[in-house]
């Protein structure tokens, strides 16, 4: 999922609103930082490491092991989880999240790595 806001503004500096997730085949995905940290413990741990980016650097993580297809699904999942919260507060039903079978195993490994 990409957003209409310009990339530079939102990923720059330690207080950026979004993080950039880069897959092994160099595709970039933007996710809201708060969501990413909430639903993936690993991403949170990574971002709290000793290498917080200073002003001017972009908040990005390169996953050399995860393909773009899988990464896309992961990002969608994160968004999905965030939406669920809002829906649950309203008291409505949660839609299901489907994962295409071909990617399932890869998604599982990535999910285990990312703890989400």
């Amino acid at each position: 999922m990409s957003h209409s806001e310009p990339i530079e503004k939102n990923c720059v500096g330690p207080d950026a609103e979004y993080v950039k997730l880069i897959s092994s085949d160099q595709k970039e995905f933007l996710v809201k930082r708060t969501h990413a940290e909430t639903y993936s413990k690993t991403i949170k741990q990574i971002l709290s490491g000793p290498t917080n980016c200073s002003e001017g650097e972009t908040n990005q993580i390169e996953f050399s092991q995860i393909s773009s297809k899988v990464l896309e699904i992961i990002c969608n999942y994160i968004e999905y989880k965030a939406q669920c919260e809002i829906i649950m507060e309203k008291g409505e039903e949660i839609p299901e999240f489907d994962i295409p079978l071909e990617e399932a195993t890869d998604v599982m490994m990535a999910a285990s790595f990312l703890q989400c």
């Binding site: 413990k41 690993t42 741990q45 490491g49 000793p50 290498t51 980016c53 993580i61 790595f113």
Partner: protein, 724 residues
């Protein structure tokens, strides 16, 4: 084999990548984001693809190697002086770096499903490494240095950086040992050697102080200052428990061991009331555990006793009760304040004070101090004097002061029933003589007495006050609706409530003037309450007689009987005893007594020295008195004292009744009781009201057996049974 080697190669590569990152962090070198991310991937691979122990063992080795290198490198090359600060710096840095590394270790924990419970979390590994490789070998040295640094800091100025260093050192021990070895290890390796070292130093230092040269007072001050400084310092460095233990060690050597020597000057300090020194002494002694200030308390007791007895001995005069109570209060306030200011308002000292006062108020002490009245009576008279005084402007203040005095003194009086009797007597006197300055304090006092003496007693007093108010209403109504001819007020009192008896009423024929009003009032009153019976108490009724035959007009106040006698002289100058009696128609002794009073007052002259049936009396034409208003009292001083002994007899009779009631109540509940138990129970129930002796109680038991309320058990004479 080939695939096995490939796997191993992958594994080692991953490990090397991770190892590099870890080492960089430990050495405070920066790690780029890609590397950081890769370390996560490595961890993932190693945890999931390999067996658990591999990663764990590798991490442990890395940490240990790093710490060992630290210890060999920096620490062994520093001198002892800078050892502590170097250690502290290294520790702080290590801690910070480990914090940075935490996400990695956390991740390892999260992935490590099996080993968490058995082998401890990865996060603790860093502390364990620190403990085993660095701290343990150097522990003794560091403790020793810490101790000496604390002591120098106590002596000299407190240096903030030093404090920081010491705190970090202590903290490092706490974290390192507690996390990896538990409390036991921490205590053994740090707290115990630390405490022993400190204690030893205190012992040595305190024995080096030349106490005799310094003197007790100065030593106390010095010790107090030192312990405060000690606590201040240690609480900034050590944890609470340790601070307490260090304080105990200090107290042991500087305070407890020197206690006896310090107390040697105690007697003098107290006797001379050197308050500042006593305050410090008290604070000093308070630190010593399990000590209850025996010497101080006994000296204090002696001081209070001496001064109290001195202030109340040999008091004389009309207002002996005022002097007594006032001196008592002064003494009490002084020493209570002393306790408050010097002895930290310590309750055990207040108990000592109370005991002294209680003993002072007992009969024997009063006798020895040459005081004519009992303390109970004096308190009652004191209240009476206050409630009579006409000059005080503020009612509330009067009551508050009286209430304070009463509440302070009353608990010390051991015969509260005597007090009750006297108070009732005096109050009735005030009401009848119209000497009450204001009803408000009277009513408030009754409320106060209700709390202290019970509601039954207070009800009596309240009825008296009500009667008084009703009487003034009656007077108004009567005088407005009837023509009387003389100024008249009436007071009607309920019998059995007021402390007057209608048994010794004077029987005589009152003068016409009075008799007419008596009849009128009786008609008026009985119309209202036709079932009441009225008895006239002439001996209490003051009459005002205006004597106009002299140059100066005199206004004489006397009771009705005396008035009756004097009025006979309205139309004659001389009259004989028997003639008087024909008019008055009364008993000869009573008449003689009253005529004697008139002779004493100089209004009459008698031709015989002693007034008797053979005497004749003349009205004194030459009567002169400086005062215009003359009061002829119906009773002489001797009679007042006889009244007092009457009161005491009434009290004794009351006590017998009270004892019997208590005995019956106790036996009714218990049904069966042996002699000693019964005596003990009765004594406890009369405590405070009066002190009942075993023989008194025995007498009443006998009387109750005669009246068949109790009986003795047939086979055991010592046991009593209740007869329903």
């Amino acid at each position: 084999m080939y695939s096995g080697n490939l796997e191993m190669a992958v594994r080692d590569a991953k490990w090397r990548q991770l190892e590099l990152v870890i080492n960089n962090i430990l050495n405070s070198k920066s790690v780029s984001l890609p590397n950081w991310l890769q370390s996560f991937e490595s961890i993932y691979h190693l945890s999931v693809q390999e067996d658990e122990d591999f990663l764990r063992k590798k991490v442990i080795v890395t940490l240990e190697r790093f710490v060992k290198q630290l210890s060999k490198g920096h620490l062994s090359s520093t001198s002892l002086e800078t050892l502590l600060s170097t250690y502290s710096t290294l520790w702080c840095q290590y801690r910070e770096n480990c914090n940075c590394m935490r996400p990695l270790l956390l991740y390892m924990d999260n992935l490590d499903v099996n080993g968490k419970t058995a082998l401890g979390s990865f996060q603790k590994l860093e502390l364990k490494a620190w403990q085993t490789e660095l701290l343990q070998p150097m522990a003794a040295d560091i403790v020793r240095l810490l101790i000496s640094k604390i002591l120098t800091n106590q002596r000299d100025e407190i240096d903030n950086t030093s404090i920081q260093i010491m705190r970090e050192v202590g903290f490092s021990f706490e974290r390192a040992f507690q996390i990896s070895g538990g409390n036991q290890a921490y205590r053994e390796n740090f707290e115990m050697p630390f405490l022993e070292g400190m204690s030893e130093c205190y012992r040595k230092e305190s024995s080096e102080i030349k106490v005799e040269e310094l003197g007790a007072v100065k030593y106390v001050e010095k010790a107090l200052a030192m312990i405060q400084a000690n606590i201040d310092l240690t609480s900034r460095i050590l944890n609470e428990g340790l601070v307490e233990e260090v304080k105990s060690a200090f107290v042991q050597h500087y305070f407890t061991d020197k206690k006896d020597w310090v107390l040697s000057e105690c007697d003098q300090m107290v006797a001379e009331e050197r308050n500042n020194e006593l305050e410090s002494l008290y604070k000093f002694l308070k630190y010593i555990p399990n000590y209850d200030f025996e010497e101080l308390k006994s000296n204090f007791k002696n001081l209070v006793e001496k001064n109290l007895i001195a202030s109340i001995t040999n008091l004389k005069g009309q207002d002996v009760h005022m002097k007594f109570i006032n001196n008592l209060l002064e003494c009490h306030i002084k020493y209570r304040n002393m306790i408050r200011e010097i002895f930290d308002d310590d309750n055990s000292f207040v108990t000592v004070l109370d005991k002294v006062f209680v003993r002072a108020m007992k009969k024997n002490t009063m006798k020895e101090a040459n005081i004519p009245l009992t303390s109970a009576e004096m308190l009652a008279r004191y209240c009476d004097s206050i409630l009579r005084e006409k000059d005080m402007p503020d009612n509330i203040k009067v009551f508050q002061e009286l209430s304070y005095s009463f509440k302070t003194v009353f608990p010390y009086i051991y015969e509260s029933d005597v007090f009750e009797k006297f108070y009732a007597q005096l109050m009735s006197g005030r009401l009848i003589q119209n000497s009450v300055r204001s009803m408000e304090p009277e009513e408030e006092m009754v409320k106060l007495l209700q709390q202290e003496c019970g509601s039954e007693y207070a009800k009596k007093l309240t009825t008296m006050l009500t009667d008084n108010k009703l009487s003034s209403d009656l007077t108004n109504e009567f005088t407005q609706t009837n023509v009387i001819g003389i100024k008249f007020t009436i007071k009607v009192s309920t019998n059995a409530v007021w402390p007057m008896s209608d048994k010794n009423v004077l029987k005589f024929t009152p003068p016409n003037v009075i008799e007419n009003v008596m009849h009128q009032f009786e008609k008026f009153y009985l119309r209202k309450h036709n079932d009441h019976k009225l008895t006239w108490m002439h001996h209490f009724s003051p009459c005002e007689l205006w004597i106009n035959i002299y140059e100066k007009r005199y206004i004489a106040t006397m009771n009705t009987f005396l008035l009756a006698i004097l009025l006979l002289f309205q139309d004659r100058d001389q009259i004989s005893f028997n003639e008087v009696n024909t008019f008055l128609n009364t008993d000869e002794n009573t008449l003689a007594r009253h005529v004697a009073i008139l002779v004493d007052s100089k209004f009459l002259k008698s031709d015989t020295k002693e007034v008797s049936a053979a005497s004749t009396f003349k009205f004194n034409a030459g009567y002169k008195n400086k005062k215009t208003i003359v009061i002829i009292p119906a009773a002489s001083k001797r009679v007042t004292l006889k009244e007092n002994s009457k009161i005491i007899k009434t009290v004794e009779a009351d006590r017998k009744g009270f004892l019997q009631t208590v005995i019956v109540r106790v036996m009714k509940k218990q049904k069966e009781m042996c002699h000693n138990d019964l005596i003990a129970e009765v004594i406890s129930k009369t405590e405070g009201r009066f002190s009942a002796s075993a023989s008194m109680i025995k007498k009443e038991i006998e009387s109750l057996i005669e009246r068949e309320y109790l009986s003795r058990k047939p086979d055991n004479k010592n046991v009593y049974l209740y007869i329903a």
